[in-house]
């Protein structure tokens, strides 16, 4: 299969500090790439660079510039509570506001009902809000989704986690997904490839079963990883 994205010798410097250094990797169409690494290793910066938000040196080559969807880190319900926005109002903020029917389709896809449309976002439960955000991203029909550290393992209702929901949608919509997470069980279960970043640079790239052994995990996370190892 052809590469959708090729990154060669990528360097990103923010406020005089090198955050990403000589990074190279490829992503195929329809793949789930997980980006692993401790805090401060440049995961979010990498996503925002690939999205075109930050200046860089090196090469970022998209085979055909896809339509992006992006769920940024830290977009919590608190951010929308300042305004009396209903779910409907929130969809209407998009560039090309989708029609009612389409909104309902995507709400259904993420497990939400039509009755939620006129509810004020601040009144939704945490799980409903997470589902809503996914529908909000999907309704623009993105081909590539960047998903920056959704709340790990949060039960969003019906025994689902954000990840299992995403995985279902990934199968149905044939998406390419870039996922930043700390949750290693998710990495083994869903990722095709893993890119490991550390504060000292990039460590490994490949399928999780081939590259993520205990020694590598310890290199990435230091001793913190012992907690996770039992879960694997």
């Amino acid at each position: 299969m052809n590469n959708l994205l090729e990154v060669k010798n990528l360097n990103v410097t923010l406020e005089g500090e090198k955050v990403i250094e000589n990074l190279s990797f490829q992503v195929r169409q329809g793949e789930i790439l997980t980006i692993l690494g401790p805090n401060g290793s440049g995961k979010s910066v990498l996503l925002r660079t690939l999205l075109g938000f930050l200046p860089y040196q090196g090469k970022i080559i998209w085979q055909k510039k896809p339509k992006f969807g992006y769920l940024p880190q830290g977009l919590t319900q608190l951010k929308v509570k300042d305004y009396p926005l209903t779910v409907m109002d929130f969809f209407a903020l998009k560039n090309t506001a989708p029609g009612n029917k389409e909104i309902i389709n995507f709400l259904n896809l993420v497990g939400l009902g039509e009755e939620i449309l006129n509810k004020v976002i601040g009144t939704l439960s945490g799980g409903q809000f997470q589902r809503l955000l996914i529908a909000w991203v999907l309704v623009s029909h993105p081909e590539v989704i960047f998903f920056d550290e959704p709340t790990t393992g949060v039960d969003i209702g019906g025994g689902e986690t954000i990840y299992s929901l995403l995985h279902t949608i990934w199968k149905e919509e044939k998406l390419t997904i870039f996922l930043v997470t700390h949750d290693l069980s998710i990495v083994y279960k869903y990722s095709d490839n893993v890119l490991c970043l550390t504060r000292k640079g990039h460590l490994c790239f490949g399928p999780p079963k081939d590259i993520l052994d205990e020694i590598m995990l310890e290199k990435i996370y230091g001793t913190e990883i012992k907690v996770y190892k039992h879960n694997l």
Binding site: L51, P72, L75, K81, Y83, P84, L85, A92, L93, N95
Partner: protein, 261 residues
């Protein structure tokens, strides 16, 4: 109509209605923590200009607008260059504006700056008020959805292809013009209240974005009209009375507040 109320009162009412409608509308975008802190310092940018206008005896418009618009562009440029939070930059500019105004302003003539002079507004000033209000309304309506998105989370706006810097400039300029108009109604010290109070009352009662915007405009206009008549009735200054009426509406809105959270 002219027979029932004097032509001066008519001008006062018309300009106050336009000013409070546009401040009410724009205020709905500013009801976030970040922006309500910014409105106040921005409004004080009008002070040095107003002081000069009073000293040299020309229209407040000529004094206020160059200052507030240039000051706003300055804030935008400093913020763009230094990446400091908007509220920090605004606070610095605020300090410069207030101190310079206090240095040059003869205190015995400070009344217009303190409480506005809407009851003396002239025909050309009323016309300018109407035109500027309509222009700002049209502009803000265009940028409204994207500004809301920027307020919620900048990255969401960026992925929708919004030029954040340009939108921020348009937004700040709209605020600057609206605050300049507000000086006429309530003076330079409490203009931010015109922006903050109707939106806060509307938020308490609204169930969606549309009702929020409409209510904020309506509350603004009611407080202006009621404030103007009350002030005449009890022989107190108009500007503060408009704000006081707005505060009463706000208190009523708390009683009927929807329990959304």
């Amino acid at each position: 109509m002219m027979n029932i109320i004097s032509s001066q009162l008519f001008l006062t009412l018309v300009s106050a209605i336009f000013i409070t409608a546009i401040t009410g509308y724009l205020g709905t975008l500013m009801l976030s923590k970040k922006m309500s802190i910014v409105a106040d310092p921005l409004s004080h940018l009008t002070l040095p200009g107003a002081a000069l206008a009073i000293i040299y005896g020309y229209s407040l418009f000529l004094g206020v607008f160059p200052f507030v618009i240039l000051g706003t562009i300055l804030i935008w440029l400093i913020q763009k260059r230094t990446k400091l939070p908007m509220e920090n930059v605004a606070a610095v500019v605020f300090a410069i504006a207030v101190s310079s105004a206090l240095l040059i302003l003869p205190i015995d003539k400070a009344e217009e700056i303190l409480i506005g002079n809407i009851t003396k507004i002239t025909v050309p000033e009323t016309l300018i008020t109407i035109i500027l209000s309509l222009v700002v309304f049209y502009r803000v309506r265009k940028i409204y959805p994207k500004m809301m998105l920027i307020n919620i989370y900048e990255d969401l706006a960026m992925i929708e292809g919004v030029n954040i810097s340009l939108y921020n400039l348009l937004y700040l300029l709209s605020i600057a013009i609206v605050l300049g108009l507000g000086v006429y109604l309530v003076g330079g010290f409490i203009t931010a209240a015109l922006i903050a109070i109707p939106a806060a009352s509307a938020k308490n009662l609204s169930t969606n974005l549309f009702s929020y915007k409409i209510m904020s405009i309506v509350f603004g206009v009611i407080s202006a009209v009621a404030g103007i008549f009350l002030a005449r009735f009890v022989h107190l200054p108009t500007g503060p009375m408009v704000i006081a009426t707005g505060v009463i509406l706000f208190l009523i809105s708390i009683i009927f507040q929807r329990r959304t959270v």
